[in-house]
Structures are given as structure tokens and as C-alpha cells.
Symmetry: C2
Subunit: 363 residues, 2 copies
DNA sequence: AATCGGTTTCAAACCGCTTTGGATGCTTCA
DNA sequence: TGAAGCATCCAAAGCGGTTTGAAACCGATT
């Protein structure tokens, strides 16, 4: 008994030095008159510990507000308990993916719910490979989310070869090996949008797309072309535009098309921001959106770019990027934990939202 | 000699199990016939090691591509080598700060240059306090950047009391204690912008502002009011708007003002996105931007919202958020390392960029 | 009573680095 | 010549967990 008391008194360990007044496993064990081994096992749900003991441990954990030291866990287990998001900065035109913030917001929920940290590294895309290798070799993350895949994206074979668990937000046309991804069904969405316009009687339908080395842009275009093809409408390159997804680019593209001898009567647009520019061009030419010219845009449901407050302004193919973030994160965690076997693929369908920017074709 | 050889052969340690084929300090030391202590010191620039030895170590480090295990360093030193960015999600209207992505891009450069990781946590703002406390107690970060400060922001006293190094992006009117911040001189910028319009002959000048519980919005308004006051112009509440910084809100605000019996002849706007909406309203009413009505907006130089490609479209008070990110990160790291003594403050001046959206008042 | 299988528990090694408190050898000075 | 001083280097004890291999305990079986 007196021994126990002495122990109690002596239990203010030297860890105070570094970590404030945190309780650590050893002290907790001492208070419980158990070995650290048992406490550790109790906490981690190992079977070889008596239920009664486990409850005692749980109670003490709450009572002393014990939180295991993440750094120690990481060292001991070799797991990083963190996932990385690499943001490539295109060196030429330093564009930060506008979709990024909302995707992160979705993924972040999942991570914190599972005790994982989210690590961001901003990387000039000329040494992206080195960045991934370092992430791996420094062991700071257990897995990675790949953003903004391009056609034949080199990151996919790279990460596969390095055996880093990863999930791609989007897909990469031309990838040889299977890999895990979460993506919107861009092809079907744009096919559907185009069909909708065709059903409204439009035959001359333009496309204002993102840069077509981006995978999603390729798919959107092919959906658009499929719908036209199915309706027996030839694709006319003069009403196809592909540029960065900015307001200005949307405006410029639309201006050019409207200046044609035979301007389109309807347009499919790849992003809300571009659609704002498209609308401006339309209005600048004295036309009325939805009456003189129809516009369907893709809407990622970015929080700072809502499609109207209550009623949608633009008719849109809608798919929440934030939801994609949640799903990608879930997927990555289950791959990391080994729960998932092979590569997982998740195709999200976009909704077609009818707004005020579309209307029937009038000769 | 043969001893050395045996050692070489035996040197494939058990660490292979966990960390792939990483070389660790002990092995490196063995190859060099030195103790781990000396190698560690050589690498960390301690004085008590011979220059020749230091060079040998450096050479071996390169040769074997040795990278110290971050997890071990973190545990041994108690430093996290990481900084946290907390992104509060307003539970009511889940807006992710649109400025955020670009700020991060700037800050990230600084972090990776200094070997720090950037940790993101997305936090519903109803339990923000708990999130900060946990960040501290789990010891996952050495410091924090505070985003989007509000008036009397509770995070500032909280972090101060918890003794977590932090830097605020922006300021918080009403904070009792001094703290470190990086901010644009919003007041002067908007004063300057308003003066510019006054100099052009405008007397009826509106303000389309962000939500006025945000600190920057308060300051912008006061700059605007100062300029009016100095020119002897009374502030008219009917041409003041304050709302979320979206295109739609900008449009709505401008529509309302234009419908007034005496609409303003010039407007100061708080963000590019709002300015897009303002412009739309102006054009919708058959007016010409810069001729019939003048607009100055604040431009954060967001990468996906450039103010025109070559020549600026909007006259703007311009200040790079990315640069603010870089500076805030620098500041935080120097606080963490103890190089900086007290709180540091950095006020960035916005440039006034003359674009095509402003012109002289014509009766 | 001795043995056995199963359940609980523990001591000690380990993860890879830092850091403390000496050792060692060499120079210098009384 | 011996002590002091200095420049280098090292063994070992940490950081706070996990994990291995073995021990203790228990009731049941022989």
C-alpha cells in the first residue's frame, strides 16, 4: 500500500518538460496498477484483455483526459495517420484549382472523423515527381489524393510503382493499369445536357470547354459529340471553344461565336465561372439568356459560386465537389487500412437542374 | 578490415520491415564508423564535430540518400514540424473562403522551403474551440494561421491563453491583447479608391461590401466613409450594401441601388466576384461600365479570377493574397523558431490599378 | 497432485532520432 | 611533468507508444 502511494507521488514524469501537463501511457498504467502493455491493448481493442479491465482503462482515460501522443504512435507503428493532397502549380499560368477548396472541405470531414490529418503540399509542377517521392520516403503520409488528372497522367504509374495508396479525383484517359478514382460521369452529364437542348429544338449547339488536356474536359466533349452524333448533327469546330475556366475566357469564347455568320442558338458550358462570362457576352449582344440563346453549364456547387439563391439561374448539370471529396477520402482510408481489396471506382451521376437559362428554339 | 566487412554485411537492419529500404541513422553511422551521436550532430550543425568528419557525413548522406525519419525527429524533439490552418465552416451557410486556396498556395511555398508540413483541419465553427484545443494537446502542430477574423474574434484570446504561436490573416477589431498579423491596409485602400472617384467628380458613391461582421469589411467601410467625410459628402445608407461576396449578391445590391430615385454614379466593391454581379446589373440596365457608372473593386489576385488578361478591366485596389500567405507563413515560422520576439505586424499596401471601369462624372 | 489449455497480464525490446554526461586524446601552460 | 583546457567523439538514456515472448493464474482434466 505504501508502495503504491510512493509510486503515485513519484509519478510526475519528466515528460512534463516537453509536452506540458499531458498524461502518458506509462503514468496512466501506473495509476491503474497495470502494465503499459495491457493499457495499450485495452485501448486498441485487442482481444486478450479482460472486459472488466478494459472498462477500468476506458474510465481512467476519460477521467485523466488521456490522449495518446500521436508522434509516438506514428513512430512505433510506422503509420503516418495522415493523407496528402498535392496541389500542383502550373508554372506557366499559376492557376490554383478553384474546385480545390470545396473538395478539401468535403474530404476534411472524413479525415477528422477518422483521426487522420490532412497534409497539403503545394508543388511547382516541374518537380512534381520529386515531391511525391519525398512524401513517400519521408513517410509523412499513408496515402495521397491526386487532383486534376490530365490525359496519360504520369502520376498514376508513378504512385503505383511507388506502392503509395492513392485515389484520383477524376480519371486519366490512357492509364494502363487500374487505379482507384471518384469521378462525375462527365460524359453522360454532357451528353444529357446536349440531348436536352436538342429536345428543345436546338440544332446548332456550341461547347465552351475547359482546357482539353484535362481529363474531365475530354470526357465532356465526347459526351457532347455523342449526343450530336446520335441526332445526326455534325460537329462544327467553329463553335467549339477550349480555354481556362475563367469568366474572361467564357466571355471571349461566346463573343467569338456570336460574331459568326451562323451563331449557335444554344451552348453547353464547362463551369459556372465560364457561364458568367458567356452570359455577359450574350447580354452584351442584346440577347436574352434562355429566350434568344440557351445555356447549360456544369455546376460543381462551389460554395462561393451558387447557382442562384433559391431558384437556379442556369440550367445545369449539377454534382457536388464537396461530396466527391467525402467519397474520395472514405475510399482512400479504406484502401490504407487494407479493408478494400483491389482498386475501387466510383462514378457519381450529375443531376440535370432546370433553370431559367434554357428555352425552346425559335427559328 | 574483415570486421568492417562483416559489419557491412550485417547492416541490413530490421527497419526494412517497416520503412521499405530506408537507411537510418544507425546504419549510416556504422558505414562511417562513427557513433549515431556524431552523425546526428554533424547533420544538425552542432559545433562539436570536426569539419572533416562533417564533410564525410555529408558525403555519405548524399551517397546513400539518407533522409532522417520525420516521425522519429518529431518524437525525440517534441516539435511537430508542421503548422495548422483551420478552416471554419459556417454552419448556416457553408461558405468556404474563396480566398483560401490562393493564400494556401503562397504559404505552402514557405513551408516546404523550410521543411515544414502544412496541416489543414476543416472545422464546423460551432466547436472551433475544441478543435484548437485538440490541435494543441495532440501536439500535431507548432503553430496556427487564423483565417477570416471577425470582430472581437474569440480565437485570438483563446490561442494566446493556450500559448500556441499564431498569425492572423487580417486583423480583429476589438482584440485586447497584441498579436501577430498580416493584413492589407483595407482602410487606406478603400479611402484611396473613394477619393479617386471623388476626384473624378463623383459625389454619389455607393459601397457594395462583404458581411460587416468580418473585420476587413468593417475597415473597408470606414475607409470609404472617411473619404466621403473629408470631401464633405454625407453617407447615405440607401447606397450601402453588405452581403456575402458572391456574384448574385453583387448583382442584387446593384439592382437595388439602380432602382433608386437617385442612383449612385459610382460604386466601390469589395471583391471581384461581387464586381462581376455589379457589372451585370449595370449592363442589364442598359448602362455602360466606366462611362455611365464607375466601379472600383478590390482585387485579391485570385488565380481563377484574373482582372482581365493583359489590360485590367476593372479599376481596382490590388493586393495579392498569395503574397499575404507567403508573408504570414514566414512570420509564423520565425515566431515558432523563437527568432521573433514580440508580436509582429505587417500591413500590406494595395495598389490602385486604373482599368476601364471608371471615368469622369458627367452631370 | 500433476498436467493442461486458455485467459490475462507483464517485462523488455523496439521504432529512429536527440541529448546528456562523460570519455579520449592532444595541446598548452605553469 | 602534471594539470588544465580544448576539440572530438561516444555510450546510454531518453521521447511515448507498440509488440513479442513468456509468465502467472485459473478451472478443468487426468
Amino acid at each position: 500500500m505504501s508502495l503504491t502511494l510512493r509510486r503515485e507521488v513519484a509519478s510526475v514524469g519528466p515528460n512534463l518538460k516537453r509536452f506540458g501537463c499531458r498524461m502518458n501511457l506509462k503514468e496512466l498504467a501506473r495509476k491503474l496498477d497495470l502494465s503499459p502493455t495491457t493499457v495499450s491493448r485495452a485501448l486498441n481493442g485487442y482481444p486478450e484483455v479482460n472486459e472488466a479491465t478494459r472498462e477500468r482503462v476506458a474510465a481512467a482515460t476519460r477521467r485523466y483526459n488521456y490522449q495518446p501522443n500521436t508522434r509516438a504512435i506514428r513512430l512505433a507503428t510506422g503509420r503516418a495517420m495522415a493523407v496528402g493532397h498535392v496541389i500542383p502549380l502550373t508554372t506557366r499560368h499559376e492557376i490554383v484549382n478553384p474546385v480545390f477548396a470545396d473538395f478539401i472541405a468535403g474530404a476534411g470531414e472524413t479525415y477528422s472523423r477518422n483521426g487522420y490529418d490532412m497534409l497539403l503540399s503545394v508543388v511547382p509542377d516541374d518537380n512534381e515527381e520529386r515531391a511525391y517521392r519525398e512524401l513517400k520516403s519521408r513517410g509523412t503520409v499513408d496515402g495521397v489524393i491526386v487532383h486534376a488528372p490530365r490525359m496519360d497522367d504520369p502520376r498514376i504509374p508513378l504512385l503505383t510503382e511507388m506502392r503509395v495508396p492513392f485515389v484520383v479525383h477524376g480519371r486519366a484517359t490512357g492509364a494502363a493499369l487500374p487505379y482507384s478514382w471518384v469521378d462525375v460521369n462527365n460524359r453522360r452529364a454532357f451528353k444529357r445536357a446536349t440531348e436536352f437542348l436538342i429536345d428543345l429544338g436546338h440544332r446548332r449547339i456550341g461547347l465552351v470547354n475547359g482546357l482539353e488536356f484535362m481529363d474531365f474536359a475530354i470526357r465532356r466533349r465526347s459526351g457532347y459529340e455523342d449526343a450530336l452524333g446520335a441526332a445526326g448533327i455534325a460537329v462544327d469546330p467553329s463553335i467549339l471553344a477550349s480555354d481556362e475556366m475563367t469568366e474572361t475566357a467564357g466571355f471571349r469564347a461566346m463573343q467569338t461565336m456570336l460574331a459568326l455568320p451562323a451563331p449557335p442558338s444554344a451552348i453547353v458550358v464547362s463551369s459556372m465561372l465560364m457561364a458568367l462570362g458567356v452570359r455577359r457576352a450574350i447580354e452584351k449582344n442584346g440577347l436574352k439568356l434562355g429566350r434568344d440563346i440557351s445555356v447549360i453549364t456544369h455546376d460543381d456547387e462551389l460554395s462561393y459560386l451558387r447557382n442562384g439563391d433559391d431558384v437556379p439561374i442556369f440550367t445545369a448539370t449539377r454534382s457536388s465537389v464537396r461530396e466527391a471529396g467525402r467519397q474520395a477520402a472514405d475510399m482512400l482510408l479504406s484502401i490504407i487500412s487494407g479493408k478494400a481489396a483491389g482498386p475501387i471506382e466510383r462514378l457519381l451521376e450529375a443531376e440535370l437542374i432546370i433553370g431559367q437559362s434554357t428555352g425552346p428554339f425559335k427559328g
